[in-house]
């Protein structure tokens, strides 16, 4: 090794730079959707954005922090009910309620974390589910929110968002788009920061992480809190689109957790790209098979089994191993550059 050889550390790759440009172009196109897409397309896109948000957040919890929660529907439902309550009882603008329910969810997640962090592995998973059931049963008791049968958002509140139906649809679509941009930005910047390095280390080996100075409990605690807050905000938007809420819909383990786990696991758990791929696959499958009733669920199950057997690290894990592609450069690479080249070219 000569002295002319030096090293430096870079984070982006050619494929990630292309991905960043493509993402920017895609964002511009998506923001303009109200001018080119129909009402149904916008609803579908909104739903994709919100499901993708849930998947990215669950992936942060389970894929990075090792918190395999099957009770995130607690926060989805809390967010939905929170929005309805704030709008109906306090007369708040529904969009203003979205960040507020996020803050409320983070606060309520604090005592929950202290309680369920005493459990680990499968016990933790069951614990989160029990918490979600407690939420469902509690909200079913609130008669002013319709009790067990639920309630609709009063038409006056819906109309207060915007005069025309087209504008309301657009606002609701933009809110969902803003949500996924926020969620991706938060998770991506987190993973690129020094906290992300610690979090990834915990994902790979908790014992080593501890003995290298990482406070595993507090790291997980913050992940749980942020995931709770953002999940609740996503939940608020989901039910703002539906305009109707009931305990069974709001705290549904299939809709808000099972499908989300499917998305993350087949896409590639513990990667930024996995939830993106998984969401696309999920919505494609749903588009083709959803009308088939129970057969649809059997197809989902079969796809999950095949992917897990053939590509245990998910579709993205397979693509990454095979082609070395990276869309979100959270990894760091050491590159060698020969400073003698500079000397040849005096300037």
């Amino acid at each position: 090794m000569t002295e002319a050889t030096t090293y430096r550390v870079i984070q982006s790759t050619p494929s990630s730079q292309m991905a960043a440009l493509a993402a920017l172009a895609l964002l511009v196109i998506l923001v303009a959707a109200p001018w080119w897409a129909g009402r149904g397309d916008m609803r579908l896109l909104s739903e994709i954005f919100l499901y993708l948000s849930l998947a990215v957040l669950w992936n942060l919890l389970a894929g990075y922090a090792g918190l395999v929660s099957v009770g995130q529907q607690a926060f989805v439902g809390f967010g939905g009910y929170g929005l309805f309550a704030l709008a109906m009882f306090l007369g708040l603008h529904p969009l203003l309620a979205v960040p507020l329910v996020g803050v409320a969810a983070a606060l309520i997640a604090i005592p929950i974390a202290f309680l369920i962090f005493r459990l680990s592995g499968a016990y933790f998973a069951i614990g989160t589910w029990v918490i979600a059931e407690v939420f469902r049963l509690s909200f079913a008791q609130v008669s002013s929110l319709g009790g067990g049968s639920g309630t609709s958002l009063p038409i006056a509140i819906v109309k207060s968002m915007a005069g025309s139906r087209a504008l309301r649809d657009s606002i609701s679509y933009w809110a969902a788009l803003a949500m996924i941009v926020l969620v991706l930005a938060v998770v991506y910047l987190w993973l690129r920061s020094r906290h992300g390095i610690s979090l990834t280390a915990i994902r790979d080996n908790e014992l080593a992480a501890r003995s290298l100075g990482i406070d595993v409990w507090w790291t997980k605690f913050w992940v749980y809190l942020v995931a709770a807050a953002l999940t609740a905000s996503v939940g608020a938007l989901l039910f703002l689109q539906k305009l109707r809420i009931s305990p069974d819909a709001a705290f549904n383990v299939n809709d808000w957790t099972a499908y989300v786990i499917f998305i993350v696991v087949i896409g590639g758990i513990g990667t930024m790209e996995g939830p993106l791929i998984g969401t696309l696959v999920f919505f494609l499958l749903r588009g083709f098979f959803a009308d088939l009733g129970t057969v649809y669920l059997m197809v989902l199950g079969a796809v999950a089994i095949v992917v897990i057997l053939k590509a245990p690290r998910g579709i993205w894990g397979y693509i990454h191993d095979r082609y070395g592609l990276t869309l979100f450069p959270v990894s760091r690479r050491v590159v060698k550059f020969d400073s003698s080249h500079k000397n040849e070219n005096p300037s």
């Binding site: 090293y7 020094r194 390095i197 080996n205 003995s211 290298l212 100075g213």
Partner: protein, 242 residues
């Protein structure tokens, strides 16, 4: 001068098995202590107790004059203890470079910018630069052991605990390792090194501790300790038969 590390009557038992039985010794700053003993003597358990991976049943550990017995493993790491694991514990999906980066940011508390430079320097020193971008999970066992050393150094330790890092090395590699650890001593790092390759150990340490059944059998000048009859009998059991 004050001791960097002091163990006072440190005990830990798993059922009837005592991995640490009233263990006491003190280590001055800058000292290098070698630890030998038969398999199951409690050498690695001693490291687990010192670093907080394992909670002691009784006794105390003083580090830089303060008791650390109630501190978490993470807090002890931040205060300047770093170890290599006998059974390597890499962050398998992270690259070799990122493995060291964890130590430099979390344990040493460096900014990412400073950590980048420090880790490149460590990888160069340990001779792993050509593996920097490889996922740690793809390394061979020997490379994983070397990564354990690199990661511990990236933590900028005051107290470095090395657990059998020379096993399986060729004569040449072993000489390089000894040279590396000697150069570390020049920088004032205090070292405890558990090793079965005794000649490598003796080339570095200025004091030798012998453990058996969690107890201290001998402690002192390496040549005197190695000549001790009880040590020869316990540690090199074959000699007693001959």
């Amino acid at each position: 001068m004050t001791n960097l590390l002091e163990l006072n009557q440190l005990s830990k038992a798993f059922g009837a098995v005592r991995v640490s039985d009233g263990l006491s010794f003190a280590l001055a700053g800058g000292e290098a202590l070698g630890v030998i003993g038969p398999n199951g003597a409690g050498k690695t358990s001693m490291f687990n107790l010192i670093t907080g991976t394992l909670d002691a049943d009784s006794g105390d550990i003083l580090y830089a004059g303060k008791s650390v017995i109630s501190l978490s493993a993470a807090a002890r790491a931040k205060s300047g203890m770093a170890r290599s694991f006998q059974v390597p514990q890499p962050f398998t999906a992270m690259t070799v470079f990122e493995n060291t980066l964890v130590a430099a940011t979390a344990a040493a508390g460096l900014s990412i910018r400073d950590a980048n430079g420090h880790c490149l320097q460590v990888l160069d020193q340990i001779g792993m630069m050509d593996k920097a971008n490889d996922p740690a999970g793809s390394l061979t066992l020997l490379e994983r052991k070397r990564l354990e050393l690199a990661r511990a150094l990236a933590a900028k330790p005051k107290l470095l605990l090395l657990d059998e890092i020379a096993g399986g090395l060729t004569e040449h590699e072993c000489r390089d390792l000894v040279a590396t650890i000697r150069s570390l001593r020049q920088t004032g790092i205090t070292i405890i090194w558990i090793e079965h390759i005794v000649h490598a150990l003796l080339a570095v340490v200025d004091r030798l501790l012998v453990l058996d059944f969690g107890q201290k059998i001998a402690d002192g000048d390496p040549t005197a300790v190695m000549a001790d009859g009880q040590v020869r009998q316990i540690y090199m059991g074959i000699d007693a038969d001959a």
